[in-house]
């Protein structure tokens, strides 16, 4: 290594090695970290709070808190009807909203003529995604509880499941559309170039490539559907005496139990209603987690496929 040539003017050398204070950059850096830490803080506070309040419930009741049914004393209750209702609401979303939503997205992106009508429909779907959940509850009450009573038997898990499927449909369509739109045109052309039909190109190239994005939309929509309480109140979720397992009778769901229990006054005892609500919240998180694990596993598989593994 040769040393710095002595002929280099000292000014150049000092300019190159001078430490420059980039105040704006530092401020930005610090505020970005602060924003991220704030988010983490909120998340951990929430989880911590639920754990601290919820664990005593499990300690007191053990698995009976999961398998038991709703009652009037926090020391004797379980969440089974809520878990059952929420699980089948999730299944309903998977069975109904996913196929319809993904099919709509495929149609809008790959098949529809990209004219004014398509754009109008797309704008409206975006607007639907922004409609408050309560409004969907009204829709569910009128259509699924009232009009479709012969099928749903009125206020039932089926009606709730249909309502929430409709609620998340726009989210699924939007995320799936965006995922399909991000598929490189070269990939489609490669498929068409060897004589594949539109459907073959969509099935073999577009959907596998778009799959990670579509699955992300599914994760979001499952979480949304399982967490909603407002539309369920409108379609008749209650917290009274309920059958343990029925799709066509009076029902409840975890968010309804959380909402109802957390409003009840605390009494003396081993565990309070607050503990019961936190315990139910823990189970709701677990349920969302279980549904999402499958989606995340699938997404990882398809992400690897994108690079041809």
């Amino acid at each position: 290594m040769t040393a710095l040539s002595p002929t280099v003017p000292a000014t150049v050398r000092s300019a190159l090695t001078r430490r420059q204070r980039n105040v704006g950059g530092i401020v930005l850096h610090v505020s970005l970290i602060a924003a991220m830490l704030f988010t983490l803080l909120v998340l951990f506070t929430l989880i911590g709070q639920i754990l601290v309040e919820g664990i005593p419930m499990f300690r007191e009741r053990g698995t009976a808190f999961i398998t038991g049914t709703i009652g009037s004393e926090p020391t004797k209750i379980g969440v089974w009807p809520g878990l059952y209702g929420s699980f089948f609401i999730g299944m309903g979303v998977i069975v109904l909203a996913f196929p319809i939503g993904i099919a709509s997205a495929i149609y809008l992106e790959e098949y529809a003529h990209h004219g004014r009508l398509t754009r109008f429909i797309q704008i409206n779907i975006r607007n639907l995604a922004g409609v408050p959940a309560v409004i969907y509850g009204v829709l569910g009450l009128v259509i699924f509880v009232d009009w479709l009573k012969p099928i749903t038997n009125g206020e039932s898990v089926i009606a709730a499941s249909l309502t929430l499927a409709v609620l998340v449909l726009p989210i699924i369509i939007i995320t799936a559309s965006e995922a399909i739109r991000s598929v490189p045109q070269g990939l489609r052309e490669a498929g068409y170039g060897v004589g594949a039909t539109k459907w073959e190109v969509t099935r073999d190239h577009v959907l596998p490539y778009a799959a990670p994005g579509i699955l992300t939309g599914m994760v979001l929509s499952i979480a949304r559907a399982l967490g909603e309480a407002a539309p369920l109140i409108l379609v008749g979720a209650i917290t009274g005496l309920l059958p343990r397992t029925s799709l066509t009778e009076k029902f409840t769901a975890l968010p309804i139990l959380i909402y109802n229990w957390s409003g009840r006054p605390s009494k003396d005892g081993a565990v309070s209603w607050e503990n019961a609500a936190a315990g139910a919240a823990l189970l709701l998180l677990a349920l969302v987690f279980v549904f999402n694990v499958f989606a995340v596993i699938l997404r990882t598989r398809y992400e690897r496929k994108r690079i041809g593994l």
Binding site: H113, L187, R188, E189, G193, G195, A196
Partner: protein
């Protein structure tokens, strides 16, 4: 074939050199006259008659008339925006995927107008394969890339497919390099290898024609030379049309060259592509009939 050569000499190329009138080349015949291919001439694969392509209301290329011969390499050259890629993509109906694109005129392929509503575009693309500017292997294994097309055509036994894949990869001069890693991703190959994989993929469905849209523009000179050698080899079996920006490449690989350029016109403020001259490559580069061709090939314009 001989009939044709004489025809070609008898009918002089009609060019209008005046400022306002468009220059229209009628090789061998004038529009409306019976197409030479229809006269039982097996050596013509395509017969393009008065082809204009519009994007919306903008006419991108106008009144192209030319014939593509079997087992020849035909090169399309010209400056950017002259419509050579647009014309190329008409040959296998690839323009169908651009919603605003409209095609006027006729492209006869074995006496069938490719833009006849009765024509099945998928079947067209199976017979007329394409290699794109940017290598675009499927995100699948090398084997599956090549086997994809044959599989679409129907169930084939594993051994049959193995044979087809090997044959296609050999034809694309890629077999020796990849034979031990057929199960690995096609995306892991170098750019030149990827482009040869795309050629193998096109060959695997046994097309009659292979369209190449600037196949070497993303490749280094060594990879380019390999693709050019490959074109010489496979033209025994296939008819090749290549769009290229590289005039040396056109001179090296093609038998015939079509020179396109852009022209100002009254219809729009954008320039429309026109076919200026179409002739044997040797003649186009040594003694072109049109002075615009001469200006372009000698590097004075373009």
């Amino acid at each position: 074939m001989t009939t044709f050569e004489t025809n070609g000499q008898e009918l002089t190329t009609v060019t209008d050199e005046s400022e306002t009138a468009p220059i229209i080349i009628r090789e061998f015949r004038v529009p409306g006259e019976k197409a030479p291919m229809a006269a039982g001439q097996a050596n013509f694969v395509f017969d393009v008659d008065d082809l204009s392509v519009y994007y919306g209301t903008f006419r991108a290329v106008r009144e192209v008339t030319l014939g593509i011969r079997e087992h020849e390499v035909t090169a399309f050259i010209g400056p950017s925006g002259c419509g050579k890629t647009t014309v190329l993509r008409c040959f296998n109906r690839m323009n169908d995927f651009i919603e605003s694109a409209r095609v006027h005129g006729r492209i006869l392929y074995h006496d069938v107008d490719l833009y006849d509503p009765a024509v099945n575009a998928t079947e067209v693309r199976r017979r007329i394969g394409m290699v794109f500017q940017k290598p675009n292997p499927f995100p699948k294994s090398i084997y599956d890339n090549v086997a994809y097309g044959p599989r679409l055509l129907g169930r084939k036994s594993a051994s049959e497919l193995d044979g087809l894949v090997e044959q296609a990869l050999r034809a694309a001069a890629l077999w020796e390099e990849v034979k031990d890693r057929l199960k690995q991703s096609g995306m892991g190959l170098s750019g030149g290898q990827q482009q040869r994989l795309c050629i193998a993929r096109a060959i695997a469905v046994e097309p009659e024609v292979i369209l190449m849209d600037e196949p070497c523009s993303a490749l280094d000179p060594i990879a380019t030379a390999r693709i050019e050698d490959l074109m010489h080899e496979i033209k025994q079996k296939y008819t090749i049309i290549i769009v290229t920006h590289n005039m040396q490449q056109a001179a090296r690989v093609s038998d015939r060259t079509a020179f396109f350029t852009t022209e100002v016109n009254e219809e729009s403020d954008r320039r429309t592509g026109v076919l200026v001259e179409f002739d044997l490559t040797q003649k186009m580069f040594s003694n072109p009939s049109n002075e615009r061709t001469e200006a372009y090939v000698t590097g004075r314009f373009g």
